[in-house]
């Protein structure tokens, strides 16, 4: 079953605020094998000119699991999660993520395109602080394998 293209442009409500934890940043940095001390050592981060430790560029993936379920699970979309592959991810980063930030993500379906047997759908999320400061734009291209309409 093809995805419901009439949902292109649908904007979903902002996710509940996610407070960025200091230890979570450090654990994330350790989990990806990072060695740069700006992620784990407050003194090193200050020496590098930051007010506090900062999160690695891909840390915002943590927030994805807060704002995406409502899109992926939208019954009107018709997505079968077992057919899903992450095709592409991009971030535009507007300011460093630091401990204590309270982040919300507001996702929009910006595209659904068939290429061959697969469909590609794009979810773009505006990530900002609870008080409205822009932090990043995250864009995920999700591949829905084998759901494109058969060409006749």
């Amino acid at each position: 079953m093809p995805l419901n293209k009439s949902l292109i442009g649908k904007k979903y409500p902002a996710s509940a605020p996610y407070e960025v934890g200091r230890e979570r940043i450090k654990e994330f940095a350790q989990a990806i094998g990072e060695t740069n001390p700006v992620y784990t050592d407050e003194k090193a981060a200050k020496a590098a000119g930051y007010p506090d430790i900062i999160a690695p560029p891909t840390f915002l993936t943590v927030l994805n699991f807060r704002y995406s379920p409502q899109v992926i699970g939208d019954p009107d979309l018709g997505l079968d999660y077992s057919r899903v592959v992450h095709g592409e991810q991009s971030y535009e980063l507007h300011r460093p993520v630091v401990p204590g930030m309270r982040l919300v993500g507001e996702p929009t379906i910006t595209d659904i395109t068939a290429r061959g047997k697969n469909e590609f759908f794009t979810v773009e999320a505006a990530i900002s602080t609870e008080s409205g400061e822009s932090v990043a734009t995250a864009r995920a291209v999700i591949v829905s394998r084998g759901t494109a309409e058969e060409a006749s």
């Binding site: 989990a31 094998g33 930051y50 690695p56 993936t61 077992s82 095709g87 991810q89």
Partner: protein, 138 residues
């Protein structure tokens, strides 16, 4: 050590790098990111859905490529944008896997920005990710 815009030439190669990834790294990443899809930690589950073994999430590969770029430019806060296309899975058997990362300065832009192109591949040469980062240098 940060790199200056003036010292960078368009077309210049970044020093290639490689990293090892083992299942424990995938488990750590699952915990830290919140992605608990069992294809990333259960070989039985991965095989049952037709994969050769557990696979790293694309986001793990993207994070390692991010390290490659920020270690080169010296300042993680310099990353303006970062994009990865996951071209094929990084298969991680019990003995682990090696990923080879190569990059180059694809373009010098205005405002001290440069566009870096990165390719990650298996030691046999199968591409797993094509990435692009724009970083603002000193």
């Amino acid at each position: 050590m940060t790199i200056n815009y003036a010292d960078v030439a368009q077309g210049e190669d970044l020093k290639p790098w490689e990293y090892r990834v083992e299942r424990v790294n995938l488990v750590m990443y699952a915990g830290a990111s919140g992605d608990f899809n069992p294809i990333h930690w259960s070989p039985e589950f991965a095989r049952a859905v037709g994969l050769p073994d557990t696979i790293a999430t694309g986001m793990h590969t993207m994070a390692r490529i991010g390290q490659y770029v920020t270690d080169w430019c010296g300042d993680p806060g310099a990353v303006v944008s970062f994009k990865n296309r996951f071209t094929s899975p990084v298969v991680v058997p019990t003995e682990g896997a090696t990923v080879v990362v190569k990059g180059r300065v694809a373009e010098k832009l205005d405002d001290n920005r440069v566009r870096i192109e990165v390719e990650a591949e298996s030691p046999e040469g199968t591409n797993v990710s094509k990435a692009e980062a724009v970083v603002r240098l000193a």
